[in-house]
Amino acid sequence: MHVTPWTTIKRIFRTGFLNFWRNGFVTLSSILMMTITLFTLGLVVFSGVVLNTTLQSLRDKADINIYFTTSAPEDQILALQNTLQARPDVAQVVYTSSDAELAAFRDRHQNDQLTLQALDELGGNPLGAVLTVKAKDLTQYDAIAQFLEQQQSVGGGGSGSGSGSASSPIIDKVNYFDAAHRAAIDKLQSITDSAERIGLVIIIILSLVTVAISFNTVRLAIYTSRDEIAVMQLVGAGRNYIRAPFMVEAIMYGLFAGLFTLVLYYPITYWLGQQTASFFGDLNVFAYYMGHFFFFFVVIVGTGVVLGAIASFLAVRRYLKI
């Protein structure tokens, strides 16, 4: 006559489920508290994503424009584009021909007859071609600008291309050397850096609060059972046999709270997605939520379950000292 491990596991789960069901009020309030903490955790994840996307879209706004003289030969410009593109710190170089620039100018000023007339009177195309350079990181613009300065002082572009070695400079102007443009990029960098730092601090604080509240919730739920735990010990129950059903119960709190949180986020992100897509730099939180649902499921439900298990393990231990 021996109790099999399977029987023990069955008894543990049965007791855990029964306690979960019968302690109705404690169960309900624990699930609600856990829901609030897991909801906060979701907010932390969402704010991280939103912050990253917003900062990225801000960073994408920074660039350097290289304005070429009208006489600059296209092959030299393209050669410079290739040289720049080959640099490890350059993300993208976009070439806009002088014709395209003119078309864009006309388009921008289509309601401004005076300007268009003046343009017509000039005859020909007064606008040069433009290369728009985006660096991989905001800090790299300085190095790129330095390189362009060298090119400019050498008196041409298209280093490495033998064709038509320049006698006159082809670069008219690089806007990074404008104080205002440079200041704007520097400022952007300091803003995104500090936003990232503040974001990280907030994320850490909220995560700690989440863990603390979950622990306290489970501890309170188990506190109500401290006399029971004492009696169980006095009738000679083993520590693990006493602890395991409480862990099953707390894991169920985490599981249900996690599922409830996932359900809550559906209408909230749906509503927010429409309201804020333009504000968050084209990030639709609803689309993001749906697209990464598995990730959210694992993070939120997983956190609930793991927190429940650890918190109950520690909380029961407090009362297992008899």
Partner: protein, 225 residues
């Protein structure tokens, strides 16, 4: 079987127990009497290792119960059935489940539980209240469930700490009758009580305590304070 060897328990500077020496033989029915605060409950807690003595040892058979492994202590506790004044049933378990829990803790099989729990509840006259929760039972009924829980594993010792303290005379009489019956079947019973009538009618060994000390130990004692 049970031996207290120079046991002293201090709470701060005040002594709850002071130099306690006595032994209990198998099959004895022993009552411990004394005013509130005399140290009766502390004595019981020492025997269950619920509290550690400040000095001295408590032996259950040959084992020093404050110096054994956790597993051994659990084994010993399963051989001591406990009954408390406030019943101490598990509130979210039915009468049946409360008793089943003690059997589960003792490693009994499901088949044993299915057959023994209804039987023991029948013995304490609660055969029809298997599925009642403690709050659905009267004080006397709760205490009988507690007794059923204490005896179901056929322990060597029953420890009853003021089991009749919250009961009316009829229920008190019934509880004492059950304890006597259990003792007649060979189980050692340790009873603490304030009830003079109970002690005087038992005509068994009585230990009288006062301020943490044993002041009398009479073979067929009476309630004398």
């Amino acid at each position: 079987m049970i031996y207290f060897d120079k046991v002293t328990k201090l709470y701060g500077n005040s002594a709850a127990l002071e130099d306690i020496n006595f032994s209990i033989e198998p099959g004895e029915f022993i009552s411990i009497v004394g005013h509130s605060g005399a140290g009766k409950t502390t004595l019981m807690k020492m025997l269950l290792a619920e509290e550690r003595p400040t000095s001295g040892d408590v032996y259950f058979q040959s084992a020093n119960i404050h110096d054994v492994s956790r597993a051994t202590l659990n084994q010993i506790r399963r051989r001591i059935g406990t009954i408390f004044q406030d019943f101490r049933l598990l509130p979210y378990k039915t009468a049946y489940e409360n008793i089943a829990f003690a059997m589960e803790a003792a490693g009994r099989t499901d088949e044993e539980i299915y057959s023994d729990v209804p039987h023991v509840l029948e013995l304490v006259d609660l055969g029809d209240k298997l599925n009642h929760f403690p709050h659905q039972l009267s004080g006397g009924e709760q205490q009988r469930v507690a007794i059923a829980r204490a005896i179901v594993n056929q322990p060597d010792v029953i420890m009853a700490d003021e089991p009749t303290g919250n009961l009316d005379p009829v229920n008190t009489f019934e509880v004492i009758q059950i304890l006597k019956k259990v003792n007649d079947l060979g189980t050692t019973v340790i009873l603490t009580t304030h009830n003079k009538g109970v002690i005087d009618s038992l005509k068994k060994r009585v230990i009288t305590m006062d301020r943490g000390r044993i002041i009398r130990d009479d073979k067929e004692g009476m309630y004398v304070l």
